[in-house]
């Protein structure tokens, strides 16, 4: 029997907006979530650029007296690699994730100053572009990322490349300070009712202290860069040794910025890892108050250790000793954090989805980086290993093993929230193991090269130094790591298209951002929630045993 059916019309879908409208929306947005994603996108692009620069460096060093890159090109590459990774990858990716997550975690609808937020992003991007414009002068600056005076004076750096570099960093510094100001105002004034400062999600606490450090540490760099530009263009004598200027003054100013800078690069990651480990161990963070106090202690002490980058400049033994003591002291709160993470895992029920995998990578490698840092804090040891590959190994263990692995943990954890899709676990595992193994090969080997006397920033070396095999292993590790980044980008694109729908709370987590849909609507929360403890969603899921009973 024929069944009468209503005639079927064409399937109608709501019209997807034209790409021009989408672009306009993103370019003019003041929504913290979109701005956060813009920061992350910028960082990923610069990560790839900086990574290519690193691969070029590694290829040049694969054999003694190789002429793949000439000395000047090599020197430009390591300058740009360092500058890019620190300023246009590290800071933006952390500021971006902070921007996305902080309002959601504290139950706010946006940051305190949304337009300042947008300004901060575009200014940071402008700074990055300005630094890369230096290639248009005939070559990037070849001054090293810390640009020791008087190499930056007109006499030694004739082209305008150095000017683009200094200007670009001053400009992006403005963006960074704007972001910090925004975080401080937001975190201190826009928390949901009941969320006292001692009950904020740990990531929020670390973003607060990171912002405090930014506000103290970036302006000295801005001042120093202004001095460089004044020397180069108005005949000032800040670092002009012939006329009484001091090369050491630059070093003090730079490292007064430079050391807190590395804590700016790690504190947010400490926060991310502290969010993820409890969820995947199914246990509350062990010792929240001590972790919080340790964070503040690290921030304070980090302002007093800078001259451990200058142990070889010939300061008095008393001055050296002061910085030995402060440097060792900072290891105590860092150790406290480590033990608390372990105690959180201990007795838990640990599962190993990709966020937790990256956290374990972080723990295992940040430990090594921290320990080699302690070794270098013993100044005489540093006399031998300063400016060698041991040092490069150390800081890549903390910057990649620490910051980058932590960032990947965070991205894998919060990607479902940001996009509504799960990332592919399979691709993530491949990415993790390639990165982990390649990383250990590259930077573990560097410690040996350093101990055997290989200095940093050399474009080549003689065959009789015994470093050739070590350099080949190091380069091999880089070649193993490179595809992991490609896999990551593929994972992101593929998951955006075909990832499993995530739902609001795919990880069964406990902080406020997981109570919104994935992705959250523009206004974040229809009703601003009231919280009573550090784990508002735990309280909701376990009304019989809420956290606030144990405060």
């Amino acid at each position: 029997m024929a069944i009468a059916e209503a005639p079927r019309g064409p399937i109608t879908r709501p019209e997807a907006p034209p790409w021009t409208a989408v672009l306009h929306d993103w370019v003019t947005t003041v929504d913290h979530k979109k701005i956060g994603i813009l920061y992350v996108l910028m960082a990923v692009v610069f990560l790839v650029v900086g990574g290519v620069e690193a691969l070029l460096l590694r290829w040049q060093l694969v054999r003694p007296r190789y002429d793949f890159l000439g000395p000047d090109t090599f020197n430009q590459m390591f300058t740009m690699h360092g500058t890019t990774m620190v300023f246009f990858m590290g800071i933006p990716i952390l500021v971006g994730m902070g921007n996305y997550l902080v309002p959601l975690m504290i139950g706010a609808r946006d940051m305190a100053f949304p337009r300042l937020n947008a300004l901060g992003f575009w200014v940071t991007l402008l700074g990055g572009l300005l630094v890369y414009f230096s290639f248009a002068t005939g070559g990037a600056p070849a001054i090293g990322w810390f640009a020791y005076a008087p190499l930056t004076e007109r006499t030694f750096a004739r082209s305008a490349a150095t000017d683009f570099w200094a200007l670009g960093l001053m400009v992006s510094g403005v963006g960074t300070i704007a972001a910090a100001v925004n975080f401080i105002a937001t975190i201190l004034t826009m928390r949901a009712p009941g969320m006292a400062l001692r009950k904020v999600p740990f990531f929020v606490w670390t973003m607060l202290w990171t912002s405090v450090l930014i506000v103290f540490a970036i302006p000295p760099l801005t001042a120093g860069l202004a001095m460089v530009l004044l020397d180069r263009h108005l005949g000032a004598h800040f670092f002009d040794v012939q006329n009484g200027g001091s090369a050491l003054l630059w070093q003090h100013i730079f490292w007064f910025f430079g050391h807190p800078e590395v804590y700016i690069l790690i504190l947010p990651v400490f926060g991310m890892v502290t969010e993820i480990i409890p969820v995947f161990a199914r246990k509350v963070l062990f010792g929240y108050e001590f972790m919080a106090a340790a964070t503040a202690a690290i921030a304070f002490i980090s302002l007093g250790v800078w001259a451990h980058h200058m142990f070889t400049v010939g300061m008095s033994r008393t001055a050296d000793l002061f910085f030995i003591v402060s440097t060792f002291m900072i290891s105590i709160p860092t150790g406290i954090k480590f033990f608390n993470w372990l105690a959180t895992m201990y007795g838990g029920r640990i599962s190993f989805a990709s966020p937790m995998l990256f956290c374990i990578g972080f723990l295992s490698m940040f430990l090594i980086g921290g320990l080699t840092g302690i070794m270098l804090g013993a100044a005489p040891f540093d006399f031998q290993l300063q400016d060698t590959y041991f040092l490069i190994g150390h800081f890549h263990f903390v910057l990649i093993g620490g910051t980058l692995f932590g960032v990947f943990a965070g991205i894998h954890y919060w990607f479902p929230k940001m996009t509504g899709r799960m990332l592919s676990e399979r691709l993530a595992r491949w990415q993790f193991w390639l990165l982990y193994v390649g990383f250990l090969l590259t930077f573990g080997t560097m410690h040996i090269s350093g101990v055997l006397g290989m200095p940093r920033r050399i474009y080549t070396y003689d065959a009789d130094r015994g470093w050739a095999l070590l350099n080949q292993l190091t380069t091999l590790g880089a070649i193993i790591q490179a595809p992991s980044f490609v896999l990551f980008v593929c994972n992101v694109f593929a998951s955006l298209r075909n990832g499993r729908p995530a739902g609001a709370d795919p990880w069964d987590a406990w902080t406020l951002e997981w109570s919104t849909p994935s992705p959250p609507p523009a206004y974040n929360f229809a009703v601003i929630p009231t919280v009573h403890s550090r784990r508002p969603l735990w309280d909701l899921k376990h009304p019989d045993d809420p956290d606030w009973q144990y405060d």
Partner: protein, 211 residues
């Protein structure tokens, strides 16, 4: 939007779930105030670096003129008095605005502006003298380098303050500034007090200690 969709059982029969304690309200500065405060901390770090640099280079010149030769207190004491007075006038302006006295606010705000401009004028005059009579330029010696950078950066901040106050003046003349929305005026006055405070330090370091 909703909380994670999990099925939650009600309390077991005869029992109720624990009730959280009441929330104590928090009192803190406004977002704008925390924002301005954080920004001013960054300015402290900026000026601090230049002040430390100034002190580091005091007495290290190989060629003159030295601060003792080039700097004179007369004019700069007047400009300092102007700037310090402007802090007082901006405070009075704020009080007037608080009480809804628009005319009083305009008057005292204008006075602040004028005093700030007078400071800048005096500085320009002083620099003219330094450059043409004492041959002190930024490239002359370490003193010139550090002096013009430090005092110049401060003057730049005064200029920015005066410019912002001009904008506020314009808005006030269009009756857009009232007692109800005086928060912004408060923030500008914080900035202005800060600029004054920095000048007290710079003046002491450059004109008293360094000489």
């Amino acid at each position: 939007m909703s909380v994670a969709t999990t099925t939650m059982a009600g309390p077991p029969a005869g029992q109720s779930f624990p009730v959280p304690p009441a929330i104590r309200p928090e009192h803190t500065l406004s977002p704008g105030q925390w924002g301005m405060l954080s920004f001013l901390v960054s300015e402290v770090a900026l000026f601090g670096t230049l002040i430390v640099t100034y002190l580091f280079y005091v007495g290290k010149d190989v060629v003159g003129p030295t601060p003792a030769e080039a700097l004179s207190l007369g004019l700069v004491v007047c400009t300092t008095a102007c700037l310090l007075a402007s802090s007082a006038t901006v405070h009075v302006a704020e009080r007037r605005l608080e009480r809804g006295n628009q005319v009083g606010f305009l008057r005292w705000w204008l006075a602040t502006l004028v005093l700030g401009a007078a400071f800048l004028g005096g500085t320009a005059f002083e620099w003219h003298d330094l450059i043409y009579r004492h041959q002190l330029t930024i490239s002359r010696n370490l003193f010139g380098t550090t002096y013009y950078t430090l005092v110049g950066l401060h003057a730049l901040h005064v200029t920015a303050g005066v410019s912002i106050m001009l904008i506020v003046l314009g808005l006030a003349l269009c009756r857009r500034v009232t007692s109800a929305n005086r928060a912004g005026v408060g923030l500008v006055s914080w900035y202005w007090h800060f600029v004054d405070g920095v000048w007290v330090v710079v003046f002491t370091v450059v004109y008293l200690v360094g000489r």
